[in-house]
Symmetry: C2
Subunit: 687 residues, 2 copies
């Protein structure tokens, strides 16, 4: 009888990759053979400590494997030395030294979790699998030999080929004059930083250090028109070391992107000045995250950027004028990479930059980043992804097809063009409720802990004052005015109500709503409502156009990306008709999804190829060229919409009946609105 003796089975988590390996195989080698990414800088010398893993004990019946600590070799002298000198957490082992002795379930610690800082808790915490572009490789170079007079650099390349398998390695030009001194400094031991994502080029040594260099960092950066946000990440552990933001100093050249394009058109040095400003700001922000994380900026070897097309062009030193006029031609739409040094980013001399591809002239690398982060193309559900700014960038799709467009929402959602509008800052009203019977408002103010109708609100608000309405509250106040019958579905403030409530008052030829009487007086004017209607109609019409392209009547899930999306209440957004009908639980704010996409591309270069591929597949829709857009826009001016029903919303919110519906019902005096007006009068009488 033959007894088949099989090699032990090793299962790596979380990837789930598995394979059989002879007893005595170092676990690091097993991981490598399976394509499981385990970091190692020292190349198996048990000195860098980057290759740590944990063994899980137990009977993993599902995987038909019993894992035990007895199935891994005990610590040898090298590993013990590492533990003594550098310390090793409980349960952790160095996979370069520990060998397979039996079946094992091995946990590869993944430190990069897209966490609450990056993305709202509502979304499931996600792990970004690491496969960064930078690999640190420690080697001991042969000393010069007169019999074989290979140059220092050539012997370095030879040992990198021998120890690490790098063939045809390139060496960045700026390293060549330094190589002699670096090699001799620590007795021919050096660590090479190798960049593996060089755009159709062989991997390249981009930095070289004497001895063991056990650190390498990267930055992921979202250059918004208003704010620049950055993560500093360890490329060796995946840990987010620091995150920070700063205003985009280009604001002094123009509040929104189109005014910055105008500035360039009007000023011969405009592009240069704005390019310099954003480079300076990025450099300053790098200084900030480095200070916070205790990291030397020269230890940053890779950087990934996302931004809208105009920021993208200005960042690269490209004149953005073409983007200000039809046909909105991008100078470059594909991903761009190069030496960070060449575009003035002050990090390591050999560091690279990578800019995600742009989708279209108005749908930039930031939308690509959000698309990478949320991945409509990765799932079956029809996902709507919107990022609202001066332009709304709209992506709609699923596994089979993705379409994208931008729509000119204008700055109303950001508080501009609104009489009492302001940025989200202490003193700004951020939440509003209106009593549907009395029309009395209550509100919350940023920096104040109470609602305005609670005891001690005025006292508490003294520090900040109540200074205006920010974006989220603009949505809410208009939606509440609609729900309470203060405005019609056409958005007209009902002047007749000025007789019943002092909150409605005449203001020239139209009426306004008084939200707060004080210094300043905060009102919602008919113009404010028109501005919101125009903005939301643009967003909705763009979405609707993409739904028509996809041939769908509804969407399954909605993602609000960006700061605006983080603060608005999905319910009110839907009441106003910013977004189509959808289960409210499926409407999620995902924060700076563009920045998360940049982080993913930084930590795993496979994500770069993924988004390059997906962006090339996305169907781009130019709203201005679509004959239907105008009609969709007109329909969308109504609240929530002239033709589209919102049945799922209606299950949760009592929507006022439509004029058309009620007219069709032959209602005249006894319309629901009239009825409710009577109810309210009754209630006022009671109160």
């Amino acid at each position: 009888m033959n007894v088949e003796v099989r090699d032990p089975l090793v299962l790596f988590m979380p990837s789930g990759k598995r394979g059989r390996f002879p007893i005595g195989t170092p676990i690091l080698d097993a991981a490598r053979q399976l394509g499981v990414y385990v970091e190692s800088v020292c190349g198996g010398r048990a000195t860098c400590g980057r290759c740590q893993i944990e063994v899980q004990e137990g009977n993993f019946a599902k995987h038909k494997i019993v894992s035990s600590l007895d199935h891994i070799s005990p610590k040898g002298p090298k590993e013990e030395r590492y533990e003594r000198v550098r310390g090793l957490a409980d349960g952790r082992r160095l996979s370069c030294s520990a060998t397979v002795q039996g079946d094992l379930v091995v946990d590869v610690p993944q430190d990069t979790v897209i966490n609450a800082q990056t993305i709202r808790k509502a979304a499931t915490d996600r792990v970004i699998e690491r496969n960064p572009a930078i690999q640190m490789c420690y080697v001991e170079v042969d000393e010069p030999d007169m019999h074989k007079p290979l140059g220092d650099l050539d012997r370095l390349k030879a040992v990198l080929a021998k120890d690490w398998g790098w063939k045809d390695l390139r060496v960045a030009q700026h390293i060549i004059p330094e190589v002699q001194k670096i090699l001799r400094k620590e007795n021919w031991a050096v660590t090479a930083a190798i960049h593996k994502d060089m755009e159709f080029s062989r991997p390249t040594v981009v930095a070289l250090y004497p001895g063991l260099k056990n650190e390498a960092y990267g930055v992921a950066c979202d250059i918004g028109s208003t704010t620049i946000a950055m993560h500093l990440v360890s490329l060796l552990s995946g840990r987010i070391v620091a995150s920070a933001g700063a205003p985009n100093p280009q604001i002094r050249f123009g509040e929104d992107v189109m005014s910055r394009v105008s500035y360039v058109m009007m000023n011969p040095d405009g592009q240069g000045a704005m390019t310099a400003a954003v480079h300076q700001a990025v450099n300053d922000l790098i200084g900030k995250v480095c200070a916070e994380g205790g990291v030397d900026r020269k230890d940053i070897f890779d950087s990934v950027f996302v931004c809208n097309p105009i920021m993208h062009h200005l960042f690269l030193g490209i004149d953005p004028t073409e983007l200000g006029q039809a046909p909105f031609a991008l100078a470059v739409s594909g991903a761009v990479q190069g030496w960070a040094h060449d575009i003035g980013i002050d990090i390591n001399r050999g560091a690279r930059f990578y800019l995600l591809p742009c989708i279209a002239g108005h749908v930039g690398a930031d939308a690509a980043g959000a698309t990478l982060s949320e991945g409509p193309y990765r799932q079956d559900k029809m996902m709507l992804l919107v990022d609202v700014g001066t332009n709304a960038e709209i992506v709609l799709g699923n596994k089979s097809h993705v379409v994208a467009a931008s729509s000119p929402t204008g700055p109303a959602f950001e508080g501009a063009e609104i009489s009492s509008g302001q940025r989200a800052a202490p003193g700004a009203i951020e939440r509003v409720r209106i009593d549907p019977l009395t029309y009395e408002p209550k509100y919350r103010v940023i920096g104040v802990d109470k609602w305005s109708d609670e005891e001690g609100f005025e006292e508490a608000a003294k520090a900040t004052g109540v200074t205006g309405i920010c974006g989220s509250a603009i949505i809410e106040v208009v939606a509440e005015m609609y729900l309470s019958g203060l405005i019609s579905e056409d958005g007209v403030i009902d002047g007749a109500l000025s007789a019943s409530t002092p909150r409605i008052f005449q203001n020239g030829r139209t009426f306004s709503y008084l939200l707060r009487d004080g210094q300043p007086r905060i009102t919602v004017t008919q113009n404010d409502i028109r501005a919101i209607q125009l903005a939301k109609a643009a967003l909705y019409a763009g979405t609707k156009l993409l739904m028509e392209k996809q041939g769908v009547e509804t969407v399954d899930t909605i993602r609000f990306a960006g700061a605006f999306g983080s603060f608005i209440d999905p319910k009110y957004a839907m009441v106003l008709g910013l977004i189509p009908d959808c289960e409210l639980t499926e409407v999620k704010a995902v924060g700076n999804a563009a920045g998360t996409g940049a982080l993913m591309a930084l930590l795993n270069r496979d994500h770069r190829r993924e988004i390059e591929r997906e962006v090339s597949r996305i169907e781009k829709v130019e709203t201005a060229l679509e004959p239907d857009f105008q009609q969709l826009f007109i329909n969308a001016m109504a609240l929530p919409n002239k033709v589209d029903a919102f049945p799922k919303l209606a299950e949760q919110v009592k929507l006022p009946p439509r004029k058309a519906d009620s007219e069709e019902a032959g209602a005249s005096e006894a319309t629901p609105r009239r009825r409710s007006r009577e109810e309210r009068a009754a209630r006022r009488g009671r109160s």
Copy 2:
């Protein structure tokens, strides 16, 4: 009966490549399919005129082909238009427009001939087959389309892929901000300069021009310690447009390379200053060749450099100190390439530089260039290739094996350390003959048309004066002194002869030979002869060591590279024992072979791979580590050598008998030398 109808046969000359093509095939396409390099910028639009060929008429029986002008299509309207507008020489056709109509012998004009300027006529004129790293590609880019919002750059890449087959093309970072304007300037027609030799990287667009750009140049440069020499070449036609030289300004830091290394060791800023000096000199020389050739320096896209290891390091900004001491470690020995801009060479912003590999710490890229040019590895004969400077670089080998070494000849051959020595310049004695009977010399002076014993010499020499002895004459005067018996095989001036001739006179404890009495007085001292003996012994011992490595007693052919080699008479070099015995007809001066090698690498990137491969195969010999070297050196002090015979030389030149030989023959009074002395006395008596 089947009649086999075969497609016409097309034979391309000078490559000899042949193939059958259907009637109607454009000749350019036929060439491409066979891998025959025919330039074309416009991509078959009959506008650039670069694809010209000639048809040979006649019965080429050897090739079994009858070629006739009837076998090529008549000129069509496009070609006629080109002829009308730009002109077309008799017999020339545009191969993009002319099609195959029958059997053809097609001549592809090769304009790059290594001609007399580059290499002495003695060597056969050679044609360098062209395959430059730069290709100019004209395309017409799609205009922007809002429905397919690809960026300008992306549409450029797409058409380069479609029209020219470039896949995964890279675009140099510095072009990106310019791409919009360039594309729009000539209505979306552009020419891309594509560099195809990017060190393990994909071909790269390195420059971009509006419309048709029908010019591209390169420079090949030899940076010698003393002189920098440069060729400016059209990469599209192969024509050498201009050649020029200039002194190496580093001379002010040190006459020879070792004194420049000392300067660096002594001065903290020494390396930077010398690097800046050589860059400036190269830039100035580029200005000179461009002015001479009427070329804009911004139209230079590629550059190839050769130099010795210390010049190599200084050129790249590398500290050369390591090369001044054992183990003479090169910072980099392999070929180096990069952006010319990054090392301060002021040509096109996207131009590249390529430095040939170094062979060893004392055998540089210049020796590699000479090796590429002379190609010992391409032939069966055992070839000795020597380049004499302060160090002699010696390469010996054939198809099966090549060995190389350097030997410290010192500066004597260059006229330094010689009492009346000077550079080769007007006024310098360059040829010397000594009458073996009277010991009277005659000589020629640079800049003077007569020998010194001819009528009117003194009158003719008034303009220049007679100022000293240059390298070639030092060899000759010592050899002639030996042949005439003025010095022994040990190099000792025979003081006894001072009684017979006033040309020999006592000078301290030794004797000297008076070559010319005048202002200045030009003499050859015992020290001068010692210096020459030391230098020639070093060269010979190095050569002999390599012959031992190869296991050969003789060499088949000898090449003298460099300026020194161009002026010395091979016979005298052999009489002195600089080089081993060889048929005199097989000793050839090849001029600046290093520069020719640079030119070859510039015009054909296959030559880069060739020399990289060959240099890695060369066996490097470090003379200082070889136990035999000392004995070989001592043997080589004698004239021509203590142990080696020169039978082939003896067939042409009557060599004095060896002391050893004559002693063995038991000669005493009646030695040949004595005899000849008596003859001479008799002759004096007669004259």
